[in-house]
């Protein structure tokens, strides 16, 4: 076990091109489960592959247990990786696949057997040790890949979207199993995914990347409650946070024909800005019937376009009555009774509004 440090780690494929990973700084503690998340092309996989030794570190350093990894080949880094397509050796049995890393390190046959058995036991693969990967289901292959990683007892586990080839149900159950296993083994783990639900449920901390740059590195709840910028705010949470870029008025911000009043303390933070980006999560709205007069003066009027009933709750997709007909998403209790075409009035319920600089996107 060891801590992992990305210190200004960068990767450029060609001179002058935009770096795939741009001066990444991460300090991952021993035994921590860190998820790298981001849209495709964000550099999350590249960052993982740099840690794995499959990509060069062009600038900065990556340290595992304090040791600089620049120029160290993969096989000398004492790490194990689970690949997206599992990369199982097709001509070897499950048992031989799992024993391979031990064999390569000159571990004696008896110990190999013992460790493979122990891992197979944990993963429920004992009955499949003599089969070839071809004869296994997707979920079983995934377990074999996990098994091959854990028999080694490496310093760090690397996982590159290990669940993306599984079906939805399998993904949810395996997700919990991986998280539980990591906690039990206590091995430092770096996990890459594009799925924000995986990121939020599995990681001790989540590093959100976009465009090769780190956007925020924090616990899941912090990421949700205090997004560092508008990008993070829009990426985390489903349905996504409503983001409006609005002109600042005397007592708040102008939203369509109405004015959204903001607390004095908030107003002081946005002082000097002409426009700000306001973020309101779908569940931070109160919905009132908009037909019978104006109930609340601070609300904004909207018209419902689509209602998605999910049972426990419902999502209303609506547009505001401003010129641009800005789209807005509202989460309400299930069976809300709303229909397409309904006029509604929306009022923010929470004092915890998210405000971002309209230009830089940084949190205010």
């Amino acid at each position: 076990m060891a801590d992992v440090v990305f210190d200004h780690a960068s990767r450029v494929y060609t001179v002058g091109a935009k770096p795939a990973v741009n001066r990444l700084d991460l300090e991952i503690a021993e035994g921590e489960f860190v998820v790298l998340v981001g849209p495709s092309g964000s550099g999350k996989s590249t960052a993982l592959r740099m840690l794995a030794g499959l990509e060069e570190i062009d600038d900065g350093e990556i340290r595992i247990g304090g040791r600089n990894m620049v120029g160290v080949p993969s096989r000398d880094r004492d790490i194990a990786m689970v690949f997206q397509n599992y990369a199982l050796y097709p001509n070897k049995t499950v048992g031989d696949n799992m024993a391979f890393p031990l064999k390569m390190r000159g571990v004696d046959k008896a110990t190999q057997q013992e460790k493979v058995r122990a891992a197979a036991d944990i993963l429920g693969l004992t009955d499949y040790l003599d089969r070839k990967p071809k004869a296994l289901s997707g979920g079983q292959r995934q377990r074999v890949a996990m098994g091959r990683a854990i028999v080694r007892e490496p310093q760090v586990f690397l996982m590159d979207e290990p669940l993306s080839n599984l079906d939805a149900k399998m993904r949810v159950s395996t997700r919990t199993e991986i998280a539980a296993m990591q906690r039990r083994l206590g091995v430092t783990t770096v996990y890459v995914t594009h799925d924000q639900v995986e990121a939020m449920t599995m990681g001790d901390r989540v590093a959100l990347l976009a465009d090769g740059k780190l956007q925020q590195f924090a616990t899941p709840s912090e990421l949700y409650d205090k997004p560092a910028n508008a990008f993070v705010a829009g990426f985390i949470g489903s349905p996504a946070m409503n983001l409006f870029t609005l002109p600042v008025s005397a007592e708040g911000v102008r939203m369509g024909s109405s004015e959204l009043r903001l607390p004095r303390e908030v107003l002081s933070r946005i002082g000097g800005h002409e426009r700000v980006t306001l973020g309101i999560r779908p569940e931070q709205w109160a919905v009132a019937d908009g037909v019978g007069g104006h109930g609340s003066s601070s609300g904004v009027k909207a018209q419902v376009d689509v209602v998605e009933e999910l049972g426990s709750d419902a999502y209303l997709y609506a547009h505001l009555d401003d010129e641009a007909q800005t789209a807005v998403v509202v989460r309400t209790a299930g069976r809300s009774g709303a229909h397409r075409g309904d006029q509604i009035v929306l009022t923010p319920t929470s004092e915890e509004l998210h405000l971002f600089d309209a230009d830089s996107g940084d949190r205010l």
């Binding site: 960068s10 450029v12 494929y13 060609t14 001179v15 002058g16 770096p19 741009n22 001066r23 060069e56 570190i57 062009d58 600038d59 620049v70 120029g71």
Partner: protein, 309 residues
């Protein structure tokens, strides 16, 4: 603009410390094959050029003598050489095109589900596998023999008597035998093309209301195009070098009526022992091939590009 603010200094890809050594480690496995190929296939051409400038006949006394371009002058004034060059083009182009058309037809017939499909395919590819010498022998004796040949037997109800096909139509007879041998190759290639067609595109075309013929013309044929091009190029590469069939069936005769360049050069070198002259012809053939194959390579190159793209 803003990028300069974000990146005060440009990040330069770090060359691994062992870049030079690593490069050689990667190249090393390639070298034996490369060196071997250069020595065995390229060096002889250098010698060919050298010999082509010498007057050297193995049966005449005296060694090689430098004569400059004399041999080339002789080659271009040799009317037999011109006739043989025309034969080569006719034989190659005819065999390639006809076997491609037949091969495409067979491929379309085989690209359906029916009983015994694998078996029929196996039957159809067999002519390609037969040793060319044996195939030529087969055509000469079993099929084209004037008295006992199967062709005259099959055609006898139509009043075709004991035609001696090989002496009457020597070049055509050779071509027929070559077409029989090469149709299977064209068939395999176009069949591979047909089977690599994505099903959803065909389904989409059908849903869009295209009939079978329209689908073939609008969807299948454009898809097959590069397979057909590849077949023509590869067929030409091999068929230009045809030697066995002519050697076995006609010996290039009567006269040089059915000789192609490989056979003619062979005759000059191994029956006429004229090293200088045959080398000069070889050089001429190589230059012609380079011109043709530059275009051919470009076609192939396109196939590989799309393959990898």
């Amino acid at each position: 603009m803003t990028t300069t603010v974000e990146r005060p200094a440009e990040i330069v890809p770090r060359q691994p410390a062992s870049a030079g050594r690593e490069g050689w480690v990667r190249r090393a496995p390639l070298l034996p094959a490369l060196i071997f190929t250069i020595i065995v296939t390229q060096l002889p051409f250098m010698f060919t050029i050298y010999y082509s400038l010498q007057s050297w006949n193995l049966v005449r006394p005296g060694g090689p003598q430098f004569v400059g371009l004399d041999n080339y002058v002789k080659v271009f004034t040799d009317s037999a050489f011109r006739g043989v060059a025309v034969n080569t083009v006719v034989l190659t182009a005819g065999a390639v095109l006809i076997s491609m058309v037949l091969g495409l037809a067979f491929a379309l017939l085989l690209d359906r589900q029916f009983r015994g499909r694998g078996f029929v395919r196996t039957l159809l590819i067999t002519p390609f596998l037969i040793t060319p010498v044996a195939a030529a022998l087969l055509w000469k004796t079993v099929l084209f023999d004037p008295t006992y040949g199967l062709i005259n037997f099959v055609l006898s109800p139509f009043g075709v008597g004991q035609t001696d096909w090989i002496s009457t139509f020597p070049l055509t007879s050779v071509m027929v035998a070559l077409i029989w041998q090469w149709t299977p190759f064209m068939m395999l290639l176009t069949l591979a093309g047909l089977q690599s067609q994505p099903h959803d595109v065909l389904e989409a075309a059908r849903v869009d209301g295209a009939g079978s013929f329209a689908i073939f013309r609008e969807v299948t044929l454009p898809h097959l195009r590069r397979f057909i091009e590849l077949g023509i190029v590869l067929g030409a590469i091999y068929l230009v070098n045809t030697f066995d069939a002519i050697y076995m069936m006609t010996q290039g005769g009567p006269g040089t009526a059915s000789a192609n360049l490989p056979f003619y050069i062979y005759q000059r070198a191994f029956l006429g022992f004229d090293v200088g002259q045959s080398a000069a012809m070889g050089v001429v053939v190589v230059i012609a091939t380079i011109i043709v194959s530059t275009f051919a390579l470009r076609l192939i190159f396109r196939s590989f590009q799309t393959e990898e793209g």
